[in-house]
Symmetry: D2
Subunit: 236 residues, 4 copies
Amino acid sequence: MTRVTIWYERIQELTDAKVQEAYPQGMAEAIASALRSDDVTVRCLYQQDPNCGITQEILEDTDVLLWWGHVGHNDVPDEIARMVQQEVLKGMGAIFLHSAHHSKPFKLLMGTSCNLTWRENGDTERVWVAKPSHPIARGLGRYIKLEHEETYGEPFDIPEPDVTVFLGGYSGGEVFRSGCCYRRGAGKVFYFQPGHETVPTFYNEDVRTVLRNAVQWAKPEYRVKELECPHVSIPD
Amino acid sequence: MTRVTIWYERIQELTDAKVQEAYPQGMAEAIASALRSDDVTVRCLYQQDPNCGITQEILEDTDVLLWWGHVGHNDVPDEIARMVQQEVLKGMGAIFLHSAHHSKPFKLLMGTSCNLTWRENGDTERVWVAKPSHPIARGLGRYIKLEHEETYGEPFDIPEPDVTVFLGGYSGGEVFRSGCCYRRGAGKVFYFQPGHETVPTFYNEDVRTVLRNAVQWAKPEYRVKELECPHVSIPD
Amino acid sequence: MTRVTIWYERIQELTDAKVQEAYPQGMAEAIASALRSDDVTVRCLYQQDPNCGITQEILEDTDVLLWWGHVGHNDVPDEIARMVQQEVLKGMGAIFLHSAHHSKPFKLLMGTSCNLTWRENGDTERVWVAKPSHPIARGLGRYIKLEHEETYGEPFDIPEPDVTVFLGGYSGGEVFRSGCCYRRGAGKVFYFQPGHETVPTFYNEDVRTVLRNAVQWAKPEYRVKELECPHVSIPD
Amino acid sequence: MTRVTIWYERIQELTDAKVQEAYPQGMAEAIASALRSDDVTVRCLYQQDPNCGITQEILEDTDVLLWWGHVGHNDVPDEIARMVQQEVLKGMGAIFLHSAHHSKPFKLLMGTSCNLTWRENGDTERVWVAKPSHPIARGLGRYIKLEHEETYGEPFDIPEPDVTVFLGGYSGGEVFRSGCCYRRGAGKVFYFQPGHETVPTFYNEDVRTVLRNAVQWAKPEYRVKELECPHVSIPD
């Protein structure tokens, strides 16, 4: 059984008709419906929950955390972001979606600004598979086509990825490293660029395949309770 | 003084009017004219020269080798390719241009097929700067615009680059890792995608800047005469 | 079912009493006995077999190839080495053991000299786990202790590993990157330093655990029949 | 002219006789004396200075920052650590020495716990050159010998380095990635393990060579005033 936790800020969808139209049941449910199965349990947390919904107990009960945030990044307390980062270092998988490039936990894990260039003008995006043999790309064709997505462009200020699985190209001309894998501590981290709030990207079948693949890839086989810096004796 | 050697297959330009039109003085001279200066000497070698122009003496007298090949790849003897590879491992810089992705020395240095997808339909390319702080990107704007280039697309079967300096995007929709840095042995290797034979890419001022920057980046500070696998005594 | 093929040069053990003493049933059988199970079939090939035992059919029928060679490296035909390299690029896993750092297929996959420093004086080695969360390290303690191993030292001329799982330290003082992971094309490659022919390293229980883990890690989920460089149309 | 700033916590040397004996003129001066030259200006900041000595103006006036901290890590305000991190992302070079593996700015840049194993028992260390062609290793032999150093061992919880320049081996048996290079944003980061406070490591001539080399390597050629995430128009 894979235990998935979706963390979603749920701010814009409360008031913005375009977001409500793209995700009539809410974005968290759109993501959850892609993942939920006999082998995968899904729990949703919201920024409006007490303590942003995050407790140490929930993190330890999570195999893979998906994170979508945007306008509320700065309202996530530093301590919550740090708890998430530390749990990844202990082995929890983490998938950061779209505008979560600027979320506090992702920036803590990357160590960089995670800045990019951006534009919202209805560009069509093709998310090209750069590494077809990677398990996150399983079941896809040569590219995922998204009729409309927010445009993200390089330079994307991230550490050079361990594996670049996807590269996005936009009808306006920009390109972007759209699927990036990292190991950080005992945990695996995947950044995936698609998922703008005003378009129904998370209902795209290929995107849903990526989410499912990424959860299985990020699921830990190894997990520690504490991060330690042990004093050691001379080995035998 | 930086000693540059340009290796150019010079096959298509002998017979193909489109190549002659793009490079009336020859492609080697187009590249050379970008590099030649008071501080940089340039020598050109051709596939038609005896032994493809390559001698051990010339390689040792070269700081940075630029390589452009295309239809003649298979006619470069394995032993010549191996000499180039070995000299890179000893410290010589190497810059592989455009269709040299399939040259024997590049494939030897990468260890992969270096396959890609491709199309020749007059696409416009923007070569986006993904790492503006890298010395190879010095002096460029956000992208290099090339009115027409051959389209290269992912997947590009290369080892994950040490640094991805450029990402190309084409008007037809494809994206490509267009500028990739590697260390191999004591040498530095740069792959740069622009430079199709039927368009005057090597006269583009930004491309010429990249060539100059790349030569300075790849120039060795350290060079060995022999690759050794020494038997050693217990250290003191 | 995982299909494992062990390629072993079997030269020294035919004549060298020390090798016969370390591996009375042969080194191939020592490795095979660590891997054979209800879920893993093991086939052994020898350098003395026709065509070194390698056929395209066997490679395609192999999930993971383990390679041990030493004094016979140069007698493996280039074409055989190339067949192995190509099959890795198509997805076959490959594990190179000890002196296979200088085998032709490994050097083809790395693109470097794979030189190192070495000494054979009975040093004790500790193979330290640098990445305990990596699946290849599953089930190990902080280090593997080998009473005697051949000493391999840095510099080890390899591309920077994707993941450095093990670092060896020797009683004589040297250190070495003893467990290195790479992706090359669709295949996974693992280099593992222990396994000198005159000591029974492959009967060490921790080493056997590493071999089993590495086979499961390298086993492909994705495999292609041909490496292709396709001409493509403008995407829809 | 290269502008170097040494940040030193200067806590233990005020009271600990062993530290005073190892560094009679202070550790900051020991480091400074290795770097100061006609081409290099050196400024020293101390944790006891107001605001830990750090101002935005000083950071912008610094090409390369060296950082040595130990018992006072937690007393460096988060905001100071963040200012240092941000300036690295803008292009400032940073060199973290020995116990600065646990300094706040280094952990911010790495994104990991930077935990390791350790022991203080007078081990002899050899710092092996794993990448002799790297500019930081210029002028060194095969290894640096340090009669006594604090023992640091793997696992060292860092992102896989861009380049592993040094690997340390200790007489007690441990091994450690002792010299690690990273790019983070526009800046270069080098971690160097030697430099325990009770032994005169920074007077070792080879260590001083490394410090000088690392400063020249980390010195920025590119620097931005602000980290930006720009909204962009459709490219021309």
